[in-house]
């Protein structure tokens, strides 16, 4: 795979601002492919150990049962300039545990929910997660092998997302297509920010 950089390697300043965008969606939908198509580094993998509190509490001991699980993230980097670095984090696809990972959503600029029309249900949980946490997101319908089984409107209806949430077709193996999804997200965030500011100004 070809990566964007090498000729773009910029040493970030220590006072640089780091930003992150999350890429979510079901297992095998192409999250890491999306990251790799625009990252200036080969996607890296990092992991975190999360402790899950079980719902049940032992009445006798009062001790909650806890389970530790490890979740892995693939991520890439786009150095915008010396002062601005954007990280793209692919959420773990296979398990539900990342939904407990508060830090993942904290400070996220926004998110891309990648959908596979053959398994639309696999992105419901991610959509709920971002809606609950007020993380702006767009839905990218990843078209595998050029197959386009449904229209954007059909997908929007099936996913039941708010009408202002952008839904677009993409092929995340293509850098230009991934860029389009990212710029759509940025424009969406900017329009939400603009609305919020105008609303605040009116009030």
């Amino acid at each position: 795979m070809e990566f964007v950089s090498s000729d773009r390697m910029i040493r970030p300043a220590i006072n640089a601002t780091a930003l992150k965008i999350l890429i979510a969606g079901g297992f095998g939908v192409g999250k890491t492919t999306l990251v790799g198509s625009v990252s200036e580094i080969e996607p890296l993998r990092t992991e975190e150990q999360l402790t899950e509190r079980s719902a049940g509490v032992d009445d006798v001991t009062g001790v909650e049962q806890k389970r530790t699980t490890t979740v892995a993230l693939d991520f890439g980097r786009i150095t915008i300039n010396q002062e601005l670095i954007l990280y793209l984090f692919g959420t773990p696809g296979q398990d539900r545990f990342w939904f407990m990972w508060d830090e993942l959503a904290q400070g996220a600029l926004g998110a891309i929910v990648l959908a596979d029309t053959r398994r639309l249900a696999s992105c419901f949980a991610a959509i709920d997660f971002f809606e609950e946490r007020n993380v702006p997101f767009v839905v990218g319908v990843n078209c595998f092998d050029g197959t386009q089984m449904y229209t954007v409107d059909e997908v929007r209806g099936a996913l039941d997302v708010d009408p202002f949430v952008p839904v677009l077709l993409c092929d995340v193996r293509q850098r230009e297509s991934t860029k389009k999804v990212l710029t759509t997200l940025l424009e969406h965030i900017m329009s939400l920010t603009g609305h919020a500011q105008r609303a605040a100004g009116d009030g």
Partner: protein, 123 residues
Amino acid sequence: MTGEDSAWFDEDAGPLARPYTFTRGRTHVARDDLNMITLVVALRRHHGGELDHAHGRILESCQDPISIAEVAAGADLPLGVVKVLLSDLIEQNYVIFRTGLAKHSSAASPDTLQKVLDGIREL
């Protein structure tokens, strides 16, 4: 943080070494102002002896500004463990950090968003 009592530790053992091996049985805790995109940079190099293997390795990996996620990926350690090690290094003035955005995305100014948008278009 002397190098002696971690010397038995064999890097090749990989996952056999539990994370608390690195953090000395959790006597150290991570600062709560570190997150996965916090940028860290070393103030000095590691001149052997003063730091144990794990801390020394982390210090070497942040000679240029780098995010904690990248440090963790490079060290092949969980983020939580790396935050503890970095907290120790920050405490002892080996490393300084600059935290990313605050808790909410609204902290990104329209100007910053525009720069990110332009940057992506130029890729």
